[in-house]
Subunit: 390 residues, 4 copies
């Protein structure tokens, strides 16, 4: 069988209109597909250098607006209008309803309770005893290791190194704070430098791999839920009994009763998230704001917790233990994405925690709306009227 | 505190330029953010009806091209060029490298081994015994229930109902095939009709909720991995020893040795995916082709399996047990997204399995490249040269 | 280094007093340990043939009595006194308290809702497509396969074969009912016969292994919780508000509130059981009645579910999805163990479901007592007065 | 319905022959069961005070001897003969075979790499922000908290407090070392004292519960595997190619190939242990030596890891992250149990790590034997010849 053609690339400037045009022609020649819409992008291709290779154009994802969402967070305070990019009909309307319920009840409190981005090198020693002793050595040399790691970055700080001995190896998680960036690349570079220092300076010069699969980057995992990855964020609010009746057509008692049923189901399923649906809002906000979309895998994990209060109001909290997001780096600076961050007042320095709080509150809003729809049997009818399958 | 303003909407035509313009003005007035880029969308807003509410414009996500990817699948056969939409530098280049390795080794085999999309109603009975007997009744009435469900859809077929008794309840999973659609809405409507039939016809008219949280829609879960959700797809290929040396600069023995280390790490972490990174490729392909991006949460689960063969070649397979995707409905018909499906020859009827096979092979390609980068210490340097953090 | 001595064994009769005596002498000679207590066993060693090799004597585990426990089960009906063998102070007293609470509230309902014991062969095919087709072949030949399996056993019945395709393999679970035996050996023999038949009769004579690790024998697993292993048993009762106050010194509202806290904790921990402690009662009942003690690993999994009723009573249910037990075979016929089964009216034919119901109700009783102790801060004081650490 | 009779108890001396006799008479009268064997116990009932309530007699569990097992551990050094109490035919013979294989290969290395026994109080604050600040306060007051905890115990040492914020709560794990005791009671008492100190001294006097379900006592959990509970122990050895052929009738290549298959199966199942069967050996050793049998639930978790070496030998390691055992307290001092500890040279002070190492090596031995039996199709035939189902 013949070798298929390689994709055309320009060595001199692969983001030039000519290089892009040759690639588009190649695609059409090889596949017969027209690229008119993809080619009608309105951003300067050179801006995407560092975000994409073999640039072909842009995908245009519809953007809707949800809100208002009132927040009394540590960092996010005030009324927000939240841009959501999705192709899933009903989604924006549903989140928007949840946000208005939160607002009507006086707003949600939001708090980032932990920061911890990891790289997870594994070191191979001769046996388990030497691996344990190597772990002690790491503890003793922590200041030097930190210095080696932090020499590679102005922002990242190595806070601690978690150790997990298995067989003759020491699996680790190097835990960093990363400022306003999500920080996977920053921490990769820093951990690599730290590992090189360790290998050179430890008497046995142990073999290591930059990933022992405990990060667990771009993957949901129990260890991320337990130990935190990225930001651990909590959004809480108290659903007033009267608001539930008026805006959601349900009683808080019914809501609380259903919570027991849903929680038993989530436990039995081994579900990564025990509420209704975190991923919808996270994915839509991530596309809108230039986050790495693959991080939905980790970020959607969470714990929903509710208590019916004596006065019939309902305390509702969402805890996201592995929210990976940033307001710097990645796709945050691209034109449309940057505008969405600006809509939220989250573009630029010192905004990452604020943004994380908005994400958590958005998840809470989505759960309010979907749970209510399931309880009031409105789920199907709303998809009928707003969704595609009519 | 004053009530914040509601988002402007038009009752007559919310997708009109005027309605959209008023919303944009509202955003700028309230937040100070300019929307020039978001507003420079080039698609007809009316096309997005059913995909978005409170339309504001579009997010433009950079699109790159990876490949060639040679497939000897059941449905996907030939050489493919794969459009990937992402803001994560290095991603396209890395997947492209993995695809070329597959191609150089003669291509990957891909197979969809199961179809099963669920809604998961829960029925509340008086006690566990009655719940068990209710389950027997469901089995006896299956033909009637199927008829009730399938009356709502031309495409969806109810294949079976899984039963999971807990306490005085019967949790179920109504399992459907859904043709070329991902099918969450189709199955929601069908399951609702079936439940209404059941409630009317069972002598006890049992209370039910449309979701008992065992779907587990938009959430990773053990039950999805075990029982399949959407499509269960497998991509396999044999990495030739010589190709590994030349294109990846590594020995298959080293690769196999590292597999043991990564698998122990994945097991210890309770990771949803035991390979390197499924979510990156899935997310990028999903954005490009108008899939529901939240489904990355479920779809990224998987099992990586490898064996070193006697001749030094390496058998490598990726099994995705819960891949949620379609080539009909959702965002697949939007202009840019449709073009990407056409690049893959996957737009229109009868293409969903072909598309699923391409997704699985893409995941395999990404794991080849990233694993090799970790092993050859190229991970950091490639992000340095291609990524944002330079 | 010298080779250490092998343990003395008699080829003619290893259960003779002489053979046992030589072994005891050997132990004392090699280790200096006296065996007076171990040797003071009062059962005929020949009775242990089939239960133990290299017989040395017996371990005497203290046996206590808990109850009365009133049950309105499908099979277990009446008032029971439950023998528990343990060395854990407080355990019997605590379970006994819980049983009395159940009894005071009118008793517990207990139901076995499913029977399914597995062996889990894996078949290796050339690729995923052939593995899928092999699965279809298994379905078509199910009657023949069942005949081959059931030819090896008078009791075991092959009900169905679950299929889980991964890579080029078909992992299966051969699911049996096993009468009054736990049935691991019976199903092992039957599955082996079935696999041999399959290998001979399938055109490709596929390689197989008797265990593909999906059984998951003697191991907790998500698949066992979801799909059932052994018996799936549910115990339910309604805790009267007044009884809770008088006998447990707590309000049902406080109990329900704490349930939310414990369930969030269990979810976050990835715990196999979401109640207080199933393993204590199961282990103690298993030792008392000659069950295979290793099965505690699987059997302790479960879901606790509660609802506060309108009148202030509290509905409480425990669901054990993987209870492995029997009243025939294993250690059930040994003298002391048989007596314990007789105390429960569970020795002999047709008693396995009755016994399983008693186990589930015992677990429920233990959770009542321990949860109450945690809530009323009595946990520490009761261990002080009854336990060892005074 | 009449109230059932309460179990007879003596207020003056419930361990007297008279009190026991009355209880036995009661059982026979109420159930018709004879208690001759149970009553033929040969230990002084008064010795069981603190281990059992409502004493009725003893269960006699058959004890067999396995070995020799050569260990080159940190604490366990030399050749051991291991007492195993079980009713599961074949078990002792199988473990004994695995031990002889280890010994023939020069012995196993064993290492305790971590000690950490927990109680897991949860503190309820007003909101997530206050819960986070409460966590900071805990860190600042750690010395005082430790002093309060350690005032209750001569042995236990509070090493650190893990913090897991969820909703408006701070879930914690108070981590202790506990000397030669398993330590659940010791740590319960110490954590209670610490919590009381915290509640009194923190300005908000936060509500707390002694268990937030993160311990996770008597339950398998992801958090125990990740964070360690009790002891984290590793046993390693190198299986010589020639020994595998002669004693196990298998090639190490076949063993390694099967490892891949079993590991994919374990991952797919969500199994607590990725090897063949840890629980069998642990349960049998635990009964023999007076451990709390319910701890099998936690202790059986583990990671199996193997690598084929260049010379064809096979490196094999078992990591048990949550082994709960002790050589002091609990049932370790009972007559038959103590003799078993003495057989192992593990009775008395300073022996807990030695004992833990023997447990881990026993698990390794069991996996060697069972895995080989599965591979050589001897599993069924050996149960036929040694087990009950003949």
């Amino acid at each position: 069988m013949d070798k298929p053609d390689r994709i055309p690339r320009s060595r001199t400037d692969d983001y030039s209109r000519q290089a892009i045009g040759e690639r588009r022609d190649f695609v059409t020649r090889r596949t017969g597909a027209g690229l008119d819409s993809i080619s009608s992008d309105t951003i300067d291709p050179r801006l995407t250098r560092g975000n994409i290779e073999n640039f072909l154009g842009t995908i245009q994802v519809p953007l809707g607006l949800a809100g208002p969402l009132r927040l009394n967070g540590e960092h996010a305070q005030g009324d927000f209008y939240v841009p959501l990019a999705t192709t899933e009909g009903t989604l924006v309307a549903s989140y928007s309803r949840g946000m208005r319920v939160i607002t009507e009840c006086g707003g949600a409190r939001t708090t980032v309770v932990r920061h911890s981005m990891q790289r997870a090198p594994v070191f191979v020693l001769a046996d388990a005893l030497q691996a344990r002793e190597f772990g002690d050595w790491l503890n003793n040399k922590f200041d030097d290791i930190r210095a080696a790691a932090e020499a590679t970055t102005r922002v990242g700080k190595l806070t601690h190194i978690e150790q997990y001995p298995i067989a003759n190896m020491l699996y680790t998680r190097f835990c960093f704070t990363t400022g306003d960036a999500a920080g996977q690349n920053m921490t990769g570079k820093a951990a690599f430098a730290a590992c090189e220092w360790i290998q050179q300076n430890h008497p046995q010069h142990p073999e290591y791999f930059l990933s022992g699969a405990l990060d667990t980057d771009k993957k949901h995992s129990a260890i991320n839920t337990i130990q935190t990855r990225g930001k651990r964020v909590i959004a809480e609010f108290t659903l007033k009994r009267q608001v539930a009746r008026e805006m959601l057509r349900l009683d808080t008692e019914a809501l609380f009763r259903y919570r027991q049923i849903a929680m038993a189901g989530a436990q039995h399923s081994g579900a990564a998230y025990s509420g209704a649906h975190s991923a919808n809002g996270i994915a839509a906000l991530f596309i809108a704001t230039g986050q790495d979309e693959a991080n939905v895998a980790e970020s959607h994990a969470g714990i929903t917790y509710g208590q019916l209060l004596e006065n019939g109001d309902y305390y509702w909290a969402v805890t996201l233990p592995a929210l990976i997001c940033g307001t710097y780096g990645g796709g945050t600076g691209l034109p449309t994405q940057r505008e969405c961050l600006e809509i939220l007042g989250c573009y630029g320095a010192g905004k990452a925690d604020k943004f994380a709080e908005i994400v958590a509150a958005t998840v809470l809003a989505g759960d309010i709306s979907l749970t209510s729809a399931v309880l009031s049997s409105e789920w199907v009818s709303s998809h009928e009227s707003l969704g595609r399958n009519r």
